[in-house]
Amino acid sequence: MRVEQPFSEDGRPIPRRTPTTAPYFDAAREGRLILQRCPRDGFFFYPRSRCPVCLGDDWKWEPVSGRGSIYSFTVDRAGLDPAQRAQLPLVIAAVELEEGPRMTTRIVGCKPEQVSVGLPVEVRFEDVGRETLIHFTPRPSR
């Protein structure tokens, strides 16, 4: 079966950027999280050609805080993606950013048992092959 997904040298699937999404991945490579912001509807995720609320194309890339909380998560113990079995158990999460949008991510730098709904997290960039993945890690409480 044909798979178009690119893989890193260690066999993990990595994103295949498009002309529209390239600035997002370029920024991640530099350790910055940027999202598109519509002047009427605010930030949205994932990067796309037009605002998903008003379909306007007058959005601008802007930096966001990189802070958020875990909206939900699961611990993949079976390795649903054979290419990611070396990382098991995988904590897959939907993180809600302080700016509003939700993103699919991995929670890293802690044990699966330490993860819970509502847990404050912050972004942690991880270079994988020629791209950079945007992971999150528990945020120390002040």
Binding site: M1, V3, E4, Q5, R12, P13, I14, P15, R16, R17, T18, T21, F45, Y46, R48, Y71, S72, F73, T74, V75, D76, R77, A78, L80, D81, Q84, Q87, L90, I92, A93, A94, R102, M103, T104, T105, R106, P112, S116, V117, G118, V128, E131, L133, H135
Partner: protein, 397 residues
Amino acid sequence: MGKRAAALVGYTEWAPQRKWDRPMFSMEACAALAAEALADAGIEKGEVDGLVVGGLQESPLFPTLALAEYLGIESSFNEVVDIGGATSAGMIWRAAAAIEVGVANTVLVLVPSTPAPMEGGADPRKMIMPPYLMGDAWGSPQGQFDIPYGLVAATSSFAMVATRYMAKYGVSPETLAKIAVHERDNALKNPKAVFRDKPISVEDVLKSPMVCDPIHLLEMVMPCFGGGAVVVTSAERAKRARHRPVFVSGYGECVTHKTVTYMKDMTMTPAKASADRAFRMAGADRKRIDLASFYDCFTITVLLTIEDAGFAAKGQGGRFVEEHDLRWSGDWPLNTHGGQLGMGQGGSAGGLSHVLDSMRQIQGRAGDVQLKKADLAYVTGVGGLMAANVGLVLEGA
């Protein structure tokens, strides 16, 4: 009084199998399914003037054209439906709607799910799921924003829904497990069920391996090959049918997203919108249904459908499951065929199994699990990652 324009009058269903002994191309499966369903309905092929399919492996472009040619049918309604697991239920209402507006009189709904023969002696019998749910094509958002993080399959997606639901409303793992246990009891009476051999207990479910927290192995469907078909015809033609006509008296459909991350509220599914529309169209009271045939890819899917389709208040689905006996012999029969959890998921025909469960009950052909009264049923289909929802109110003539 709901719609009385179109009725389900005949069907066929192939027992789901993990390994399929007779490889065949999709069109070959369609031909066999069509012949069997028409024979069951007592309707000649020459009367068919509509075709609905979910896609054909060996003829992905213009599939209904290829099918009309292969089956020798001059067809005035040609529809390809692809809304994931909700496809089968979505096909049924499209066929009924086409008949109601008069573009067709007798429509074949065909759901082949067989492995194609392979050249060079390779064994085609093993079920291989498409990697990454086919979301890996260049330009697909999934390939860029989900797949690299491990969100590649239905199980992890529904697991996130379950995690969020548990955190917000609290439901015990035992309560969710009860759904799988009662469905398995029903499957024991279904000669076509993969899991017809032995009952399971709540303890069995909770002791089965944790695949994606909080989903255990026995709360997931077994992917299989299979196939099914339904003949849908006009009320006029249905009067002369061999079996009791089953009217498609109300229907609704709602799609809001594909990837679970982008659900507005992970605990509120599109089942609400589709059920509200379906019951309003049918002019039927939810309390009056004789059985529920709900899409059950996971136990959490059933729990959320019970709530969002309006059978229990939000957050009260767990209590509803605890208070009711969901077996065919119980006070609130659910998936009397054993559901896909008990029967196995015969590919896309898994979704059709819920339509056929209600159809058999209403036609009085449900064998050992026949309900005393089966006149009104609610059927659901769930597609994508808790994303597409179809509801069908089925009513006996």
